[in-house]
Assembly symmetry: C2
Homo-oligomer: 324 residues x 2
């Protein structure tokens, strides 16, 4: 299956969610509305709503209910991006000006606060406390993840485990609960929603690992920004953690990381990237992503054989081979 | 009644909430825990939890339930303060270093995000969707209020109505729902919780108006910071809005406001403060606060004559005469 076919098939429902997203951020304050809309229009693959829609296929598929989960999950993702841009001093994202560069940091911070709050306000319209609990707990974990990322900037002594916990909080958890809450909102049974959580968690982990590989191995055209943005920012990802375990490479890499940190990321990093590409860190990271993909597909096994199961499998395979 | 007597009477319950507050922000990330704890230990009057406790007296008073409302409401207040400090570049608050000056803006932003999320995570442990709705909507309104404040910085053309809506969002709403949610969490009837909302709204409005008067008329010792912080920051409050309506003062005030804005607040503002103090803006603002206090007390009228009603009345009178 191609991802584009899946989007084509869900087009009507995705458009509906898109309209609801726009409606959800409509507010009688020009600055806030424009900044939120700018953020929304900057796009993104709306992968979280897609996961919600597919998850809901395992219960009673009713868009008017499901939107109360699909919209907030995308809003949470958007809010976390706008706050990340404040932290990263990012000027552009996906080729568009960020809120903080088009307006300023203050506006980006309050826009993020507004969108976070709006997300919770939308989901609470669904009178299901369990859903509210799951969503608010995930936001707590995400915010801890953000702080953990800062804590580990340029820290070459972090472990593989530290990295895994961080990407779980940063990426995998929100994808996991997207699949799970789609199912719960549609009244699917507990077994199905648990399986879908496990699927989403593993797909999310694979997604982030492959994203981190791409940042080191992709071309600027493929990834929409110069390679090595992670290390410039201090973010030490799994290919680097694996490469650091190679005793012959470690001393040189430690020097490089220290040098990049001292120059605040504003330096030539091609030597660093060459070293990582030449190490076994990339292959080991690819194997790691593949293992997560295998686990994701295995988690689908107990679910009934409906089309959505095939679609979930297709997405997993797509992420496994992702090179865009 | 003196406020100190009320706190003495509620001491045991306030201590319980205080411990729960500490527990709620306990987290396995040193930075986040220290920053959150620093914020918590910086103190504050815990007026929102006190309103929750008193509101709950109109139903079945059970601290183990009520804490799920009292803790989040104080957390929301704390989170909004830490984000405000980022915006205001504040170095100290209540005589303590702010999170952004003790650590940095990034840490202050994520600490605020974490505490906001934690607040919602605590309240969702109470399986009452109505409470979740009321709380998340209030946070939405608060974040709009923050943006409105930025929008109206140094804007001398804003109306009395603009001001009222802003302080409603910024202050009154959270106090209103503190009274209301205390009652709802304790299972008090809808009539009682509505009356308490109205009481809290009016007390909150009076509180903010008096705070804004104090910023212009108090001594540095009374208010814990130099008078005129509001105008330095661009925040035009109701005594100023009233003074601007005096045709003989308006041209001079407009010049002053423009001058303060051009110098980014870093200038002598004693002339501005003298003009406002000499205008009828202060008296009119005091009358406004008194009207809100009267309305607050009137809102209590239909409630049963229990001790908490007397305590609420006492707080309203205290805020009416507040000069600390």
């Amino acid at each position: 299956m191609k991802l584009i076919d899946l989007y084509a098939k869900l087009k009507k429902d995705i458009s509906y969610i898109e309209k609801e997203l726009e409606r959800s951020i409509d507010v009688d304050n020009d600055l806030l509305r424009e900044a939120s809309l700018h953020l929304l229009k900057a796009g993104g693959k709306r992968i979280r709503p897609v996961f919600v829609l597919l998850g809901a296929k395992f219960g009673t598929y009713d868009l008017a209910r499901i939107k109360h989960v699909a919209v907030p999950l995308e809003l949470i993702h958007m809010a976390s991006l706008v706050h990340d841009d404040v932290i990263d001093d990012a000027l552009t994202r996906r080729g568009q000006l960020t809120v903080r560069s088009k307006w300023d940091n203050r506006i980006a911070m309050y826009t993020g606060d507004y969108i976070f709050a709006k997300a919770l306000s939308v989901v609470t319209q669904l009178p299901n406390p369990l859903i509210h609990q799951i969503m608010s707990k995930a936001i707590v974990e995400m915010s801890i993840g953000e702080m953990e990322q800062i804590r580990y900037f340029f820290n070459a002594d972090q472990t593989f485990r530290d990295y895994l916990l961080r990407i779980k909080r940063k990426t995998a958890l929100l994808i996991a609960i997207s699949c799970q809450l789609g199912a719960i909102a549609a009244g699917a049974g507990e077994a199905a929603s648990k399986s879908l959580y496990t699927y989403g968690y593993n797909v999310g982990m694979a997604f982030q690992v492959r994203d981190d590989i791409l940042d080191l191995c992709g071309t600027e055209k493929e990834i929409g920004k110069p390679p090595g943005s992670d290390i410039r920012q201090g973010n030490i990802t799994v290919p680097v953690i694996f490469a650091l375990q190679d005793k012959s490479l470690r001393p040189g890499l430690l020097n490089e990381i220290q040098r990049i940190q001292q120059l605040d990321g504003q330096t030539d990093i091609s030597g660093f990237i060459r070293t990582i590409r030449g190490s076994n860190g990339i292959t080991r990271a690819e194997e790691l992503a593949s293992r997560y993909i295998d686990k994701a597909i295995a988690a689908l096994e107990p679910l009934p054989d409906i089309q959505a199961k095939k679609d979930f499998t297709g997405i997993a395979h797509f992420i496994g081979n992702r090179s865009y």
